[in-house]
Subunit: 305 residues, 2 copies
């Protein structure tokens, strides 16, 4: 099967809306290579290039891609096979009015630190240090149910999830809210800390290999309301909310639903078990809705699909 | 050198205060075995034993132990060599008015699930499941600077940190606020998820092997204000606050101080680097002050001591 390439030059969105128009239509099972520009649309090529305030358009997401047969109530599985850097430079920045420590006087904004990719492609340079390349897809999602969200914001449709687990080797599952699902992704990082404290990772253009599959009717025993990530070792419901506390509650509730369905526990017993294994993980604290995941090791949970 | 045993039967505290009276005095470099009873003082031996409301006295911490030569401005290093289960049963519970999902009607409180230890001692049983034993010291700290904190609460002196990294193989460092440091610990779990969502792990009595060392004058280039954990791979400042957002800020600021001192970066460059490597981790979300750590891989940070 030939991989179909879909480029940001064909189309990219800055807002996930319920009524997106697709730039490509693919079958369930399609193997794609998504070309994504960097989150700042190439505006930063040098340390002297700074971003004074959050751009109105940021985090271009290549797409939307209509997946034939995806209808509301289904689940869209996006298996991430590879994320390759597609330019020789990343950039990590502060922007005034953005980031975990924006309020502190000693934190200077705007500032830019470019992070050149080493010749072997395995690391980026930060000053005299080398940081291993470990790419992350920052923004990935589908058309939402009723509200619209700019690509700066994460919510139940996905969007700016900025989650280190959204990377090669893992699969992310989305509820399908609209016909064709309307998948879009971009805003990749060459490396990113859990939390993304300054507001960015090392932002960089990429080529992303994915396989998309429609799971007809979704999961048998749970109603997937938000994104779910599968890693080799764990299932991780992802939840975004105004506060970390609220996001923790949503992610934990989703983990409880999965555990209760698997083991035929009531919610309280599933809650007790969730307090013993895996646990809560911070995705990002800045977007400005924040994102948390609740890891449940696969020893305690088989596939819900 | 013979290990000195110090038992909860000799003395245990339910409050960390600035003016603690020691139950034992040891030299810097002493190897100790601390015997700690379970956080609920043995009140739960069966699934029918439930806790109706948070007890006035909970999380007994064996101690305080005066470490000779420890004076304010020093740092106390507590190397954790082993945490052994000391009874055949753990327990995980809900208590009304406590826990991440306390507000939800479908979460029943009080409820108790006892978790028997398997014959080989490697796992605990939860219903038909087995969960590997991976002990955590829930409460550990020193005499605070000026305020008093019950052992239910974490703060800059340590206390109820409920952090999975506080376990065998790691070292936890505390600022010394009072003469002799006045170390105390207890509230161990046979297993616990990051987050400790229901409010407990599998609470259990333990024997803890530690070596305590006074680091005269503390770190050369930073002023340690809060606990710091060293794992084989990372340094992790720990911060407790009223919200997860506030705890994230404190932990990230501490990580920035360490990175800035190591690399002679200004705070902004350290912030940018902190956004690329390691990251924020949730310790617990229930105590009711919450605890977060900021992991910095050792590739980027040598010992500050």
């Amino acid at each position: 099967m030939t991989r179909e390439a879909i480029s940001h030059e064909t189309g990219a969105i800055y807002e996930f809306t319920p009524n997106l128009e697709s730039i490509a239509t693919v079958e369930s099972g399609a193997q794609l290579t998504i070309e994504a520009r960097d989150s700042l649309d190439g505006a930063i090529q040098d340390d002297s290039d700074v971003i004074d305030s959050i751009p109105e358009e940021v985090n271009a997401a290549t797409g939307p891609i209509e997946v034939e047969g995806a209808t509301p109530g289904d689940v869209l599985a996006v298996e991430i096979e590879a994320v390759r850097l597609d330019e020789p430079l990343g950039r990590v920045i502060t922007i005034d009015g953005f980031g975990l420590l924006d309020e502190y006087d000693d934190i200077e904004a705007p500032r830019t630190q470019t992070t050149p990719v080493t010749d072997d492609g395995d690391a980026i340079e930060f000053d005299d240090l080398e940081v291993p390349v470990d790419p992350v897809i920052g923004t990935i999602g589908v058309a939402p149910e009723s509200e619209s969200y700019t690509t700066l914001v994460p919510h139940d449709h996905g969007g700016n999830l900025d989650t280190t687990d959204v990377t090669a080797g893992n699969t992310i599952y989305f509820p399908v809210f609209q016909e064709g699902a309307m998948l879009a992704m971009g805003d990749c990082k060459a490396a990113m800390a859990d939390g993304e404290m300054c507001g960015t990772g090392a932002e960089i253009a990429t080529e992303i290999d994915v396989t998309v599959d429609v799971i007809d009717g979704g999961a048998a025993d749970i109603d997937l309301e938000r994104p779910l990530v599968e890693t080799p070792d764990a299932w991780k419901p992802l939840a975004s909310a105004e506060t970390l506390e609220e996001a923790c509650k949503l992610a934990n509730r989703d983990a409880i639903d999965l555990l209760a369905a698997e083991h035929e526990f009531d919610d309280t017993d599933a809650y007790l078990l969730s307090s013993l294994v895996g646990g809560l993980e911070i995705s990002q604290v800045v977007d400005p809705l924040v994102t948390v995941r609740n890891a449940v090791p696969k020893e305690y949970l088989s596939s819900p699909f």
